[in-house]
Symmetry: none
Subunit: 358 residues, 2 copies
């Protein structure tokens, strides 16, 4: 039996000098209250320990697998690794030939609440980024990363940047200023609609008797679903959307990339098609901006943006029809929901003629 | 064997006079095509029939139990027995001492799109309903049911009326006129937020350093979550909500009914507590009304509504605190989402200073 020879006591440890003490301790313990009982106690204890280990092992096997959902499928809050990844967003701003505007906007956007990081997609091929200047004027509230591009492509901003650590992306054109109040509110709205493009610029398509679609805004006829107008897209040049859609965008048919490259346009329309297909619902949620400004007139470069091209709008109608061909159908859906912030900027902006308090 | 004695043929029926014919029929059949084969065929047929019955029985047992989800738990479309039950709503209007207003409003509401039925909760105890007059002025677009009450209680309108066949209920005070446009839009919003109270009258509670809550509207301080104001309740006197909440309301603590009866008030606050507890989210979604009118000045009865009582608002603060005690906590949550209809009533009511088209 185990305790007859104290040299074989389980208390024997690696350090020689303590073995005598250990041995004596065990020997003493093992003598309580008698040899036979000690053996039974030891066996009982061993059995208990083994059973506990087995139970713990079984429980571990039964623990639910924690899956990090890349894209939300419902109104559940998206799971994230850290609190900040859920409560903050990454600003992605593509820039071409308007570095003065870019820097002006960076000064504004770097201080937006809940901003985690800025990614500048540098489409000025061969030109040095203003990174040195940026660093020399530090410190800054958040990091800015300059992603130097090799080809000047509209769809460069839709790459699946590994720098994005947040679930939410805020995409802004490099000539658009949206107030911090609008952005903070729209971000909170996105958190309630994480599978949608939540932004400030609504657009729509309409179908015509010939079956050919046309693209436009409120100047086009209403789609004819009850009162008022409808929108079927929210442009990504001023919008929040889930970073998972950047990953999704990499898996689109080649024809989509060809179309965007051919027109240097329509990446935002393609994104709306993608999101509508994914959700089966209207792709966007429109938040009415209080203070949104276009700064293009302020640039020294003289460059005034792609949308001034003569063919710009016709191209966008063309894109809608091409994308319908590519995707084998029209996935865009209409919405007439317009969201504003309760009680801001005007105290009691919701007041109605029923001026009674009850 | 069974068919040797034709008196024991299974074809024997209860009516004596037909038994001979039945017997002859069976006898003839059994003779085809020879006694041995007939027996084998019969046995085979019996076995097949028994096996089929057993299989059918087993399949019936395996059929999934069809459960009609009374309350939605997510943004899924609620299941209904018929399309109309999902696409229409039931108007519940409680009335006391303002029959002239009631009839005026009935003429308006009977023609609201998607209305399925009207339930008038008749709190004029002992007084005849205007049902005869209503019928004499038919036909009407939809049925109206007058529910005669025995006691004049505020919470009579929150009974689980079996007459409600739709998933949605529209509850209106008997002095409130909301335009058809507002109602049609708010109903479409409710269909996207079926677990919320979607309506036109937002209110809030605020907490104070003492821990005592106070009830009010925009005249109270903002709750202090960022910019602007917040609301934590949407009053049911002009709102859509899921009919399942009427069933839920029957299962509340007795103290809730006692409170409402004691004050003849606060049934709407209690409903918001119920919904907030159920969803764990803000109970209401506020839709900004374009045209909502209070008609109480128009009544001939001289009766001007409970909210004119001196103690009305103090009672409502009292109710908030009592309900927190009853439910063991404050379930109400804040929201600052204000929903309006895109492009209605003003064409391009979403237009912003960025007057460019792209």
């Amino acid at each position: 039996m185990l305790f007859k020879d104290h040299k074989q006591l389980p208390c024997k440890n690696k350090l020689g000098q303590q073995s005598y003490v250990a041995t004596m301790r065990c020997f003493h313990f093992c003598k309580l209250p008698g040899r036979v009982m000690g053996i039974r106690l030891l066996r009982f204890t061993s059995v208990v320990i083994i059973v506990l280990l087995l139970v713990a092992g079984a429980l571990t096997a039964l623990l639910p697998t924690i899956k990090d959902d890349k894209l939300p499928n419902s109104r559940r809050e998206p799971k994230t690794q850290s609190q900040s990844a859920l409560d903050s967003f990454t600003l992605i701003m593509q820039t071409y030939n308007r570095t003065d505007l870019l820097l002006k906007l960076l000064n504004h956007y770097q201080a937006i609440p809940h901003l985690h990081k800025v990614i500048v997609v540098w489409n000025n091929i061969g030109e040095k980024t203003p990174e040195e200047m940026w660093n020399s004027l530090g410190p800054h509230p958040i990091p800015v990363v300059f992603k130097v591009q090799t080809v000047n492509r509209m769809r460069n901003r839709l790459q699946n940047f590994p720098d994005v650590e947040t679930k939410a992306v805020l995409m802004m054109d490099d000539d658009t200023l949206v107030s911090a109040h609008d952005l903070a509110f729209a971000f909170s709205v996105w958190q309630q609609f994480p599978e949608h493009i939540v932004g400030f610029v609504p657009r729509k398509h309409i179908s015509t008797p010939s079956g050919v679609y046309s693209y436009g805004s409120f100047e086009l006829q209403n789609p004819g679903f009850g009162n008022g107008d409808q929108y079927s897209m929210v442009l990504i040049g001023a919008a929040f959307f889930h970073s998972g859609y950047l990953e999704d965008f990499q898996q689109q048919p080649e024809a989509v990339y060809a179309l965007i490259d051919e027109t240097q346009n329509c990446d935002d329309i393609a994104m709306n098609f993608l999101v509508a297909k994914h959700t089966g619902k209207p792709s966007g949620v429109f938040v009415k901006p209080v203070d949104i400004r276009n700064l293009e007139k302020d640039t020294n470069s003289g460059y005034s943006g792609m949308w001034h091209r003569a063919e710009h709008l016709l191209q966008r109608s063309y894109c809608v029809n091409k994308l319908v061909n590519i995707y084998g159908g029209m996935p865009l859906k209409y919405s007439n929901i317009m969201i504003s912030q309760f009680g801001f900027p005007n105290y009691a902006n919701h007041k109605n003629k029923m001026l009674f308090i009850a």
